[in-house]
């Protein structure tokens, strides 16, 4: 019977493993492509982004330039002639094609003599040297514009990040986000931990009802709280302020905090807690000396949740913080300011997005274990 089992599993494995590997690989690539695209673009300048897709950012690309020539025409047997180098006297580059009109920058290959309108001819060598001949009787009144396509090696830089951080107010928004997040993460933990201990290890009437209410409150739409609580904040004099958003995040985070922590604390070994009580420890001592340290994984899980949620929040920040620029958090800054004023400037937008994403991603990858544990405790019951 054992042999049959082994055969079955082995057969399933070999038959499907290639398909499985490829499918998963495709899914992972599909999932990563959007983020990678924006990440790559955050290191490219505006011209590079609109010149070629980010998927070609790592190969040399062809870019078109319009060049206004300078210098004096000289009279030759062929006509008025202008010579020079499209890259200027000191520059250098690699011309891959050229033309005499904006609409056809790729009309001729380097070294060719291109026929332009009215008998004019233009030759541009690969190194940029050009000869322009105008057979007209009179000396042309102005020098022509030339259009060349050049091979540009890929360039990456942190200019976008410097722009966004040092001249766009994103640094202020970053600090504001941090300011909202820290108290809004720490304060609910403590409040919830005491409540969770009472719900897990103390016996009193209506305990089951309170737990059920907490579970019910998990799904109350936050939208309901916006108008009444803003009115309440105005009434008690804190109005739209950091105090307001700290209180709001604390209130909204509590159901999940209590639920997660209670589920964890209920699973702690009964012996430890009871023997401590037999030894004369009060509930307060049992909680601070035994339950709280043992609950560290659950506390960490909730802290990560609350941190990600408050850091990434847009709704509460829009309602409970003043709408003036100096108290914008990053999400508001991006959604209300940059998307409008910098709509087409993808390098800047991308850099702003990654400034706001960086910290959560760091937390995510370093503390994924706790996050997963928290998700499981919250859902698989």
């Amino acid at each position: 019977m054992a042999a049959a089992t082994d055969d079955g599993i082995a057969g399933a494995k070999s038959g499907l493993s290639l398909v499985t590997n490829i499918t998963v690989l495709l899914l992972v690539v599909l999932w990563l492509v959007p983020t990678v695209g924006l990440l790559v673009s955050s290191f490219r300048d505006r011209d590079a982004i609109s010149g070629s897709g980010w998927w070609r950012a790592f190969t040399a690309t062809s870019q078109n330039f319009a060049i206004s020539t300078e210098g004096e025409f000289t009279e030759t047997p062929d006509g008025w002639t202008l010579t020079g180098n499209v890259f200027g006297p000191d520059g250098s580059g690699d011309v891959s094609a050229f033309g005499g009109r904006r609409s056809e920058p790729n009309a001729f290959a380097p070294g060719e003599t291109g026929e332009l309108v009215r008998g004019r001819t233009l030759t541009i060598e690969a190194n940029g040297d050009f000869v322009y001949v105008d057979p007209d009787e009179e000396e042309p009144s102005r020098t022509p514009s030339l259009y060349v396509a050049t091979e540009v090696p890929p360039t990456f830089g942190t200019d976008n990040y410097e722009t966004i951080l040092f001249s766009n107010g994103m640094d202020r928004a970053f600090i504001n986000t941090l300011t909202v997040t820290i108290p809004a993460t720490i304060i609910p933990i403590l409040v919830a931990a005491f409540a969770a201990y009472a719900l897990a290890w103390m016996d009193f009437p209506f305990r089951g009802t309170i737990i059920a209410i907490v579970v019910g409150l998990l799904v109350v739409p936050l939208q309901l709280a916006l108008v009444p609580m803003l009115k309440f904040h105005n009434m008690i004099g804190i109005g739209q302020s950091f105090y307001g958003i700290w209180f709001a995040h604390t209130g909204f985070g509590l159901p999940l905090a209590i639920y997660l922590l209670r589920n964890y604390m209920v699973g702690l070994p009964r012996d430890i807690i009871e023997s401590a009580k037999v030894d004369g420890a009060t509930d307060f001592q049992v909680f601070t000396r035994i339950v709280l340290p043992l609950s560290f994984p659950a506390l960490a899980s909730f802290a990560i949740f609350q941190f990600l949620w408050t850091w990434n929040d847009l709704l509460i920040a829009k309602v409970f913080l003043p709408s003036s620029a100096e108290s914008w958090v990053m999400t508001v800054k991006i959604a209300d300011d940059l998307l409008g004023s910098r709509g087409g400037d993808w390098g800047i937008l991308a850099a702003a997005a990654f400034v706001s994403i960086a910290v959560p991603l760091l937390v995510f990858f370093t503390m994924q274990r706790y996050l997963v544990r928290g998700l499981l405790a919250g859902s698989v019951k």
Partner: protein, 325 residues
């Protein structure tokens, strides 16, 4: 004072205040009100222990009551008044909502969101969870698919706005169309289907959540049931649909409802991507249009969302009560 310093000070005061409250209230209870000494020692201990749980619960219950219970009634009450909050209009705001074609559109779109996002996220999450189960690099794959969970909806919107960009040199969708010789389109302005292009963003974020939970559920299935099926000659596909799925059905329902609730909260994506234009309005973003302008209308929309959530809430409470008893 800089807000950050103010914040740190608040943490100190908040944490100190909490500890101070719990410590001193316990002290008062044990030393002053009901000291476990003297002629009534035994009675006092019982009394103290009857009161103590409420001391532990008080701050949390006060905050929950104020920020989550009271608003349900406060919002409903407010929704019965006019824009300024001065005149009682009864169901007037609700009647106005029903008469507004934008609201009906938002309701319909939200219906699509509730139908599509949980289904797609749960399905993809289950698919990835099953496929990565025995893969050597499964954990890395899962970690990468889980990653969007850490990104804000605003950040995710920006990431996808870039994917959907009209310029074929910027947006990868139009770049692909371009290679097939098709003209560029703006996915966000394609009638009806633009809703789904927005939903894709939330599916992209939530698949990781579904995957993590369903993956744990799949691992929790007793090996014997699968081995028995293999012995009976079941194919891998049969094992998945006939043995595994029925055993994790409870978890699938939990994942499904959790994402459904989330869908009814997310206004960020529509707000950042289209601002509710081109027929993509949903209830949360519709509400934000009236927030600060017409509180009567805004609270009425919020209450409509509450009514939609209500069945899930009742179901959650029933489950929780059953668990506690």
């Amino acid at each position: 004072m800089s807000p950050l310093l103010q914040g740190i000070l608040t943490v100190v005061i908040g944490v100190g205040g909490c500890i101070g409250y719990f410590w001193s209230s316990n002290l008062v209870l044990d030393k002053v009100l009901f000291p476990p000494r003297g002629p009534n020692a035994g009675q006092n201990i019982n009394r103290a222990n009857a009161i103590r749980p409420w001391l532990f619960l008080l701050p949390a219950m006060a905050a929950l009551g104020l920020y989550l219970v009271y608003p349900v009634f406060g919002s409903f009450w407010r929704s019965l008044f006019n824009r300024a909050g001065t005149d009682f209009v009864g169901a007037g705001n609700y009647a106005a909502l029903m008469g507004d074609s934008e609201f009906r559109g938002a309701l319909f779109n939200n219906f699509l969101w509730v139908l599509f996002v949980p289904a797609a996220s749960t399905f993809l999450g289950l698919l990835v969870a099953q496929l990565t189960d025995r893969l050597k690099w499964g954990n890395i794959a899962k970690s990468l698919i889980f990653m969007p969970m850490a990104i804000s909806f605003v950040g995710a919107s920006l990431i996808w706005k870039f994917v959907y960009a009209v310029d074929p040199e910027i947006g990868i969708i139009n770049a692909i169309r371009d290679t097939f010789g098709m003209a560029p389109v703006d996915p966000l302005q394609v009638d009806f289907w633009n809703n789904f292009f927005l939903m894709v963003i939330l599916v992209w974020v939530q698949t990781g959540f579904a995957m993590v939970i369903l993956s744990a559920a799949l691992r929790g299935i007793p090996e014997e049931t699968i081995e028995a099926a293999i012995i009976d000659g079941a194919s891998p596909v049969q094992i998945f649909f006939r043995i595994k799925i029925p055993q994790i059905m409870g978890t699938i329902v939990v994942v499904w409802t959790t994402i459904t609730i989330l869908v009814l909260k997310v206004f960020d994506i529509v707000y950042a991507m289209t601002g509710g234009n081109f027929g993509t309005q949903i209830l949360p973003s519709y509400m934000m249009e009236y927030m600060f302008r017409d509180d009567g209308r805004a609270t009425a929309v919020a209450f409509v969302i509450m009514i939609i959530v209500l069945p899930v809430m009742v179901w959650n409470i029933v489950q929780a009560k059953r668990e506690v008893h």
